[in-house]
């Protein structure tokens, strides 16, 4: 167990995965010489050579397509899409090819590939470099989806993804690469595929993932000071979703919020609220609330950008209302 960063943990997972399995290759824009747009793959090309760490042209559809073909024929590609925002160019290869090949071909041909990418706000990168598009992925049967929020998960969710027989989309968060934390390569926070309870609490449950976990935990701390104990569950693995523990928590507390950074309309928050609304109806004291990004493109101005996604303050205020029925000032 060592202290390291989210960035380093991902790099370690790639390194360990490549050492464990010679069929693993990395491919993507700037993953080699440059070391990755966010420095994640630094030095790996020196360790594994240009045949296994492949700098590609700026051709997102063909990058994913080539990874699919490599996966079909025996390699285990970890393809990188530099920003999840570029998924728009490659969704055909992601959703129509990678996701559906096994099914369309009657189980004959699997696509054991990982698609690493990153999303989210926090760097004033504007509307085309700041999105959270996990909802597109989640709506696509055949894909698996994981989104690490902690340093340990950055390692374990990716390692686990590299062992799956089907395509896994791993969405990192650009605002977390410098996050520091403990990494225990022998012990995941929870089994791959399951959520992790990051904080126990009896009064309400906050369901979240990726960077919003940290805003939620900060809000929970302040709520505790006010006598409200929020349980915070990190979804980690969004699809397929292990709903059991979520259902238990929501039934136990009777109050729930789902917090995401994505545009709220049509988001993962909506999916969770709908699903838990179905399964926990008789246990609910209050509606399941969604907190998400505003329904707008992400503005470049740092203040506007920050203002467009949920803050610990907003989570705190809303949770307090849910539990105490005390209206926040902004609800006046």
């Amino acid at each position: 167990m060592t202290d390291t960063t989210y960035r380093e943990a991902i790099r370690q997972a790639l390194l360990d995965g490549m050492e464990a399995d010679r069929s693993v290759i990395l491919m993507g824009e700037e993953v080699g010489l440059y070391g990755g747009a966010y420095g994640v793959t630094k030095g790996l090309i020196d360790l594994f050579g240009a045949d296994r760490v492949i700098d590609t042209p700026i051709s997102e559809p063909a990058i994913i397509g080539a990874a699919i073909g490599a996966a079909m024929t025996g390699l285990r590609p970890v393809a990188e899409l530099m920003y999840v925002d570029f998924a728009g160019m490659a969704m055909d290869q992601i959703a129509n090819q990678a996701a559906k090949s096994r099914y369309m071909f009657g189980g004959q041909i699997g696509v054991p590939m990982v698609l690493r990418t990153q999303g989210g706000t926090g760097r004033s990168a504007a509307a085309q470099h700041s999105q959270s598009l996990e909802a597109w992925v989640m709506h696509t049967p055949g894909l698996r989806l994981v989104m690490p929020a902690t340093v340990n998960d950055a390692y374990h969710l990716l390692r686990g993804a590299m062992e799956q027989p089907d395509p896994v989309v791993v969405i990192e968060h650009k605002g977390l690469y410098t996050l520091k934390g403990a990494l225990d390569t022998a012990r995941p926070d929870a089994p791959w595929g399951q959520p992790a309870t990051r904080r126990a609490g009896r009064d309400l449950v906050i369901l979240t993932y990726s960077r919003m976990l940290h805003e939620s935990l900060a809000a929970a701390e302040r709520l505790a000071a006010a006598g409200v104990e929020a349980e915070v569950i990190d979804l980690r693995c969004l699809n397929p979703l292990d709903e059991g523990p979520l259902v238990d928590a929501v039934r136990r507390t009777g109050r729930a919020m789902v917090v995401t950074e994505a545009v709220v309309t049509g988001s993962v928050a909506s999916e969770l609220a709908a699903k838990l609304g179905e399964l926990c109806f008789d246990w609910l004291e209050e509606p399941i609330l969604r907190l998400g990004g505003e329904d707008i493109p992400i503005p470049v101005s740092p203040a506007l950008e920050r203002g467009s996604i949920p803050s610990a303050d907003l989570i705190h205020d809303t949770a307090l209302w849910l539990v105490t029925r005390k209206a926040p000032s902004w609800a006046a």
């Binding site: 290759i25 491919m27 045949d51 296994r52 492949i54 590609t56 042209p57 051709s59 559809p61 063909a62 994913i64 397509g65 080539a66 990874a67 699919i68 073909g69 490599a70 996966a71 079909m72 024929t73 025996g74 390699l75 590609p77 055909d92 290869q93 129509n96 090819q97 090949s101 096994r102 099914y103 369309m104 071909f105 009657g106 189980g107 004959q108 041909i109 699997g110 049967p141 055949g142 698996r144 799956q164 027989p165 089907d166 397929p240 179905e278 399964l279 109806f281 008789d282 246990w283």
Partner: protein, 344 residues
Amino acid sequence: MTAAPLANAGALARYRMMRRIRSFEERVGELFLKGGSAGSMLHLSIGEEAVVGLTDAMRDGDSFTTHHRGHGVFLGRGGDPNRMMAEIAGKEDGYCRGKGGSMHIADRALGHLGANAIVGGGIPHVVGAGLTYRNRGTGQISVAFFGDGAMSQGILYESMNMAALWRLPVIFCCINNQYGMGTRVDRSAGARDFPARAAAFGLAAARADGAQVEAVHDAARDLVAGAREGRPGFLEIDAYRFFGHARMDKSPYRTPEEEAEGRLRDPVATARARLLAEGQAAAPDLDRIDAEAGAEMDAALAHALATPPPPLSTMFQDVYAPGTPAPRPQAARLAAILAEELRA
């Protein structure tokens, strides 16, 4: 049986294969008319049989992807007509257990990495296969088959660029049947020299007459040899789509005269005439081949009609690999909610 010396067994074998393709496609048409096909998205490769010139230049172990009009290519690489026809009928005994159909047929064992209903969708997959073969030094190649319509898809150029850049054992084969649906190629291409496009990306590029399977084969042999040594290639097969785009299309956008002329460029008839003219085969030989092909495909058609459809429960299989949980059926989800409700 005749005693004529078969100087070129390859040419005869290619004739036989082309005839099998022709017969197969004719039976696919019948399957549709009998109401036995899964849907009407059936794209016949009649007129394009000379692709056998390339499939015949490939080796066991080579892989390939095809477009939506890929029956002929698949047969050329050894596809089993029974399982193909059953798949086209959406039956459980089909290659894909009735999940894929005509446009999504595949055979891992034969290196068929999949037909694709997205124009251009399967092209980059051969780049990845090429990476595998290059990295492992296996000597295999991978070939993407697609139509002239895919010449307008950006992913083709991205893929050709990668293949050239990385010197991959890959071939891009454009079966130019002059049409993408109702659009003749001069209405979709800003410039008409497709090999020039490929050459500009660094590929060895050639065009061959799609009426002459042996011409295709000659060009293909060179390209295949080059590809095996890491010089990726591009081959345009200049052919004509004999019938409509899909089963419902009567091609009102072209003249009967044009069609009649196009159909003169028949690779099967041309090959037959040449085999006879060069004394490589006698008419009875070829007649027997034709009859055998017809009988074989009659049987495939009968099989496809007779064999049962997949049970409903198979719907949930193959979304993920065996050993990982299948998606929960909606009825089960609703029942779970309902059960809780009743309990509560």
